[in-house]
Amino acid sequence: MMLVPFIGISAIIFAIGVYGALTRRNAIGILMSLELIFNAANINLVAANKFLNLENSIGIIFPIFVITIAAAEAAVGLAIILSIYRQTKTVYVEKINIMKW
Amino acid sequence: MLLTLVTFIPLIGGLALLFVPKGKDNIVRGIATAAAAVALIISLMVLLGYDKSIGGMQFIEQCCWIPSLNVTYFMGVDGLSIAMLVLTTLLSLISVIYSYNVTSRVKEYFFFFLLLETGMLGVFLALDFFLFYVFWEITLVPMYFLIGIWGGPRKEYAAIKFFLYTLFGSVIMLLGIIALYFTSAPHTFNMLELAKQAPLFTKLFQNVIYVALFIGFAIKVPVFPFHTWLPDAHVEAPTAVSVILAGVLLKMGTYGMLRVSYSILPQAVVYFALPLAVLAMINIVYGAYCAMAQKDLKKMIAYSSINHMGYVLLGMAAMTTAGLNGAIFQMFNHGIITGALFLLVGVIYDRAHTREIEGFGGLGSIMPVYTGIMTVAVFASLGLPGLSGFWSEFMCFLGAFQVQNTWMKIITGFSAIGIVVTAAYFLIMIQKVFLGPANEKWKGLSEINTRELISVVPLIIIMVVLGFLPRIVMELSSASVDSMLKALGTIKP
C-alpha cells in the first residue's frame, strides 16, 4: 500500500494547481499553476512505475514526454502572452475582453 | 419512367431557369409554364393509363438507391395518389400562370416554385419511407422562401413560423420512421413491405409510432391544436403560394395518414379512431367559428381550410367505405375549391389592395363576371348540391354516421354545426361584398382579366363536372379504400 500516499501527495499538488489556475488573474500566474498540475501527474506516474513495475518503464518514459510538452507549451504560451502584452499592455485575463467571454 | 419524369420535370425546368440571363423574365415564365404543363400532361397520361379495374399499385418503379440501408427508389400510384398527383400538377400549372404578375426576382420565384412542385409530387408518389421523407422535407425550404420573399407585410414571421412548426413535426416523424425501420425484419423502408409486416408489430409499439407520425402529419393538415401556423402562412403568402399551400400542402398530412398509418399501423388506427374523430369535430366547429369571426377575406378562407380539413379527418376516423371515399374526395375537392377561392381573393386584392370584408359592397354590379365565379366557388365550398363539395362532405358525414358507436354518432351530430356555420359566414360574406348598393370607392375596379380567367375557370369547370359526375374520382379511390378497409377490418376495436 505504499502507492496510495503518493497518489495523495500528487492529488494535493494537483488540486493546488487547479486552484491556482482558476483563481489567478495574471496569465503568467496561471501558466505557473499549470506546471504544478503537470508535475502532479509525473509524481503519480513515477510512483506507479516504482510500485507496480509497469511494462517498458512507461512510468518513467511518460513523464519525459510530459516535461517536453510542458516546455513546448510554456514557450508558445509565453509568446502568446508577450504578443498580447504588446498590444494591450496587460496580462490580466479579465481585462483582455474585447469579445464577450 | 412516367412517374420519375413527372416528379423531376419541374426540377429540371427550375434548374434550367438558373441559366436564363438576367432580365429575360418572359423566358423564365415560359420555361416555368412549359415545365408545369408537361408535368400536368404526364400526370393525365398516368390517370388515363391507370387500370381502375385492377386497382392497387401501378406504374411501379423500383431500383436500388442506398443498398447499405436497404433504401430503394420506389414509386408507384394507386387511386389515392393519382387523385393527389393530378391535383398537384393542375394547381401548380394554374398557380404558375397566375404568378405572371410577380415582377420582383422572377427567376428565383419560379425556381423555388418548381422545386416545391417536385417535392410535393415526390411525396405523393414515393412508396419508400426514406424517399417519402426526403421529398416531404424538400417542400419546406422553397415554401419558406416563397412566403418570406414574396409575401405580405408580416412575411418573415409567417415564413419562419411555418418552417419551425412543420420541421418540428417532421423530425418527430423521422424518429418514428427510424423506429419502424429497426423493428421490421428484415429492416426495410418499403411501405408495402412494412404493411405486410404490420401484424408483427406489437400494439404498444404501433400506438407509439402512430403518435409520432401523427404529430408530423397533424401539423401539416393542420389538426387543432397545431393549426396556428396556418392563418399566418396563408394570409402572408402570395396568392399563388396560398393556393399551393391550401390546395396541396395540407393534403400531404392527410395523405400521409392514409398511406402510412392506415396501412402500416392498423391496430393503432382503430385504437385512435375516436380521439381522431374528436379532433376532427374540433377542427370543423372551431375552424368554422373562427372563419366567421374574421374580417379579412383571405384569413376567412384560411380558417375555412381548417374547417374543411376537419371533414377529411372525420371521414378518415369513420373507417367506413363511404367515409374514406368521402375523405379522399374531399381532399381533392378542397384543393380545387379553396385554390379557386384564394385565386379569386388574390384578384380583388390586386385591384383594391385591401381584403377587409366590411369595406366592400355592391361589387356585383361593378364586376359581374368575377362575382359569378366567386359565387360558384363559395357555393361549392359550403357544399351546395350540384357542385363537387356537396358529395364529399355528404359522404364524410354519412360515413361517420354509419359507424355503430354512440360516441361517434354524437360527434358527427356536433360536427354538423360546422356546416351550418360555414354556410352562414359564406353567405354573409357574399352579401357584404357583392350585394347591396355599389360602393363609390370601388367604382373604378376593372373586371377579372384573361390571365386570371385562364387560371380560375378550369377549377370552376371541375367543380361543376364533379358535382354531376362524382363517380370519376370515386372509381379511382374506391379500389384503394377497399384494400385499406380489408386490412383494418380484421381488427376489433
Binding site: F14, A41, N42, L45, G77, I80, I98, W101 | I172, F182
Partner: protein, 486 residues
C-alpha cells in the same frame, strides 16, 4: 537494437511524407521572393497534401505497429482523409485571406501542415502516450495559428483564451491519464480493453481518471462545459484556421475520443449515461447560445458545439453495447459531412469578408440580390447544417438518430432532445438566410469570387448535395472503416 520494430515505419509513409512536406515548405520559404511566395507556397502545400492523400489510399492496413503505439487501420484512414481534405481546403482559403500577410505565409503553411500531421497521428493513436503527445502537438500548433494575425487584438485574445483553457485541460487530461495508468497498469488501449473486461476492473481510481481525461477530450471537441474557448478562438482566429479548427481538429478529437471510449466505457452503463448527459447538455447549450449571436463566425462556433453534441450521440450509441457498428459509422459519417458543409460555409464567409471586411449577420442584408448564385450556395450549406434533405447534413443526422434509436429505449430521451435541438438550430441558421434573402440591400457591389474560393464552395456544395442524392459511396466508406478497429 530491435530493428524489426523500426521497419514498421514503412507503414507511416503518408505521415512521413507530410512531415517532409512541412520541412520542405520551411526551407522553400527562405528562397522564394515575397511577391511569389503566397502562390508558390500554398500550391506546394496543397499539391503535396493531395499527394499524401493518394499515398494514404494505397498505404496498406497493418494494425498495431511500433510497440502498439499506433494502429494503422481503415478507421484511421477515413479520418486522415477528412483531415487532409479539410487542410487542403483551409490552405486554399488562406491564399485569398488578406489578414495573413505574404511575409508570414510560409510559416503559416508549414504550421498548418504540421497541425495536419499531428492530427493524423492523433486519429491512429492507440496508446495513451501517443494520444497525449499528438493531442498536445495539435493544440500547440493551433494556439499559434489562432493568434496568427499580427496587430489584431481579437486574434491575440482568442489565442490567449484558447491557450489558457487548452493548457489547463491538458494538465487535467494528463493527470487523469496518470490515474488511469496507475489503476490499469497499462497505457495501451488494446490491453486496457482486455483488462477492463475482467472482474472488478472498473475501480474507483479508474473512473476518477477517466472522468478527468474526459475533460481533455471535451475541450478538444468543444463539449459543454469545456466549450468556452470555442467562440473566442473561432472569432479571433484567421477564418481559414477557424474552418480547420471546426472541422479537422474536431474530427480528430472525436476519432481519438471514440477509440478511448470504445476501450474504456463499452458496456459500462453509468459512464455511457454520463456521456449521454454530456451530449444532451452540449447540443442544448450550444444551440441556445447560438440563438443570441450576431457574428456569423461566433454563431458557427456555437452551432459547432451543438453539432459536437449530435456526434456525441453517435459515440454514446457506439459505446452502448447494442449498436456498436452503427454508432461508429454514424460518428464517421457525421464528421465527414460536417467537414464538407463547414468548409463550404467558411469559404462563402471569407469571400464575403474580403469584400465587406465584416462578419456581422446584418451586413449580409440583401446579399442574394447582389450575388444570387453565391447566396444559393450559402443556403445549401445552411440547409445542410440544419439537417434537411436533400443535403449531406440530413444523412448525417439520420445516421446519428438511427444509431441512438438502435441503442435502445434507454436513450430515447436523448433522441427526443436531439429532435428539439434540430428545430432550435433551424431558427438561427435561417436567421442568416433571412438577412441574405429578405434583408434590404445595403451593398450593391458584387462579391468578387476568386477561383480558389469558387472551387471550394462549388465542390463542397456539389458534394453536400451528392451525399444525399447518391449517398452510398460515402456510407459504405464509413461503414467499411468500422471493421477491424483493433
Amino acid at each position: 537494437m530491435n530493428t524489426a520494430l523500426l521497419k514498421d515505419f514503412i507503414y507511416l509513409v503518408p505521415e512521413i511524407f507530410v512531415l517532409c512536406l512541412g520541412i520542405l515548405i520551411l526551407g522553400f520559404d527562405l528562397f522564394i521572393p515575397e511577391r511569389f511566395r503566397r502562390r508558390y507556397i500554398i500550391n506546394l502545400s496543397v499539391w503535396g497534401l493531395l499527394l499524401s492523400l493518394v499515398l494514404l489510399v494505397y498505404a496498406p492496413a497493418k494494425g498495431l505497429i511500433l510497440g502498439n503505439m499506433v494502429s494503422i487501420d481503415a478507421y484511421g484512414v477515413f479520418f486522415k482523409g477528412i483531415i487532409i481534405l479539410s487542410t487542403v481546403f483551409a490552405l486554399t482559403m488562406a491564399r485569398y485571406y488578406a489578414p495573413i500577410k505574404d511575409e508570414v505565409i510560409g510559416e503559416f503553411s508549414a504550421l498548418v501542415v504540421f497541425a495536419a500531421l499531428g492530427m493524423m497521428f492523433m486519429v491512429s493513436s492507440s496508446d495513451l502516450l501517443m494520444i497525449f503527445l499528438s493531442v498536445e502537438f495539435v493544440s500547440i500548433a493551433f494556439f499559434v495559428l489562432t493568434g496568427y494575425i499580427k496587430n489584431d487584438p481579437k486574434s491575440a485574445e482568442g489565442a490567449l483564451k484558447y491557450f489558457l483553457i487548452g493548457a489547463f485541460s491538458a494538465g487535467i487530461f494528463v493527470y487523469g491519464m496518470s490515474l488511469v495508468i496507475t489503476s490499469t497498469g497499462t497505457t495501451n488501449l488494446k490491453a486496457m480493453t482486455e483488462i477492463l473486461r475482467g472482474p472488478g476492473a472498473y475501480s474507483p481510481l479508474f473512473i476518477c481518471g477517466f472522468l478527468l481525461m474526459l475533460v481533455g477530450f471535451g475541450y478538444k471537441i468543444a463539449m459543454v462545459p469545456f466549450h468556452s474557448w470555442a467562440p473566442e478562438a473561432y472569432e479571433g482566429a484567421p477564418t481559414p484556421v477557424t474552418a480547420l479548427l471546426s472541422t479537422a481538429s474536431k474530427a480528430a478529437g472525436f476519432a481519438v475520443l471514440l477509440r478511448v471510449a470504445l476501450a474504456a466505457v463499452t458496456g459500462k452503463g453509468d459512464l455511457v449515461m454520463a456521456l449521454a448527459v454530456l451530449s444532451a447538455l452540449t447540443m442544448t447549450a450550444g444551440n441556445l447560445m447560438a440563438l443570441q449571436q450576431n457574428n456569423v463566425k461566433r454563431l458557427l462556433a456555437y452551432s459547432g458545439i451543438a453539432h459536437s453534441g449530435y456526434i456525441l450521440m453517435g459515440v454514446v450509441a457506439a459505446c452502448s453495447g447494442t449498436a456498436p457498428a452503427l454508432g461508429i459509422t454514424s460518428v464517421l459519417l457525421y464528421a465527414f459531412v460536417y467537414m464538407l458543409m463547414n468548409i463550404g460555409i467558411f469559404a462563402v464567409i471569407i469571400a464575403f469578408f474580403n469584400k465587406t471586411g465584416s462578419d456581422d449577420m446584418q451586413s449580409y442584408s440583401g446579399f442574394s440580390k447582389s450575388n444570387p448564385y453565391l447566396a444559393l450556395v450559402l443556403v445549401v450549406f445552411l440547409v445542410s447544417l440544419a439537417g434537411i434533405p436533400p443535403t449531406a447534413g440530413f444523412i448525417g443526422k439520420f445516421y446519428v438518430f438511427s444509431a441512438i434509436i438502435q441503442a435502445g429505449q434507454k436513450f430515447l430521451w436523448l433522441a427526443i432532445i436531439g429532435i428539439m435541438n434540430s428545430v432550435i438550430a433551424l431558427y438561427y441558421y435561417f436567421r442568416i438566410a433571412y438577412f441574405v434573402y429578405f434583408g434590404e440591400q445595403k451593398d450593391e457591389r458584387k462579391v468578387e469570387l476568386s477561383t480558389g474560393l469558387a472551387v471550394i464552395a462549388g465542390v463542397t456544395a456539389v458534394l453536400v448535395l451528392l451525399a444525399c442524392i447518391y449517398p452510398d459511396p460515402f456510407i459504405s466508406a464509413a461503414a467499411g472503416s468500422v471493421l477491424n478497429l483493433w
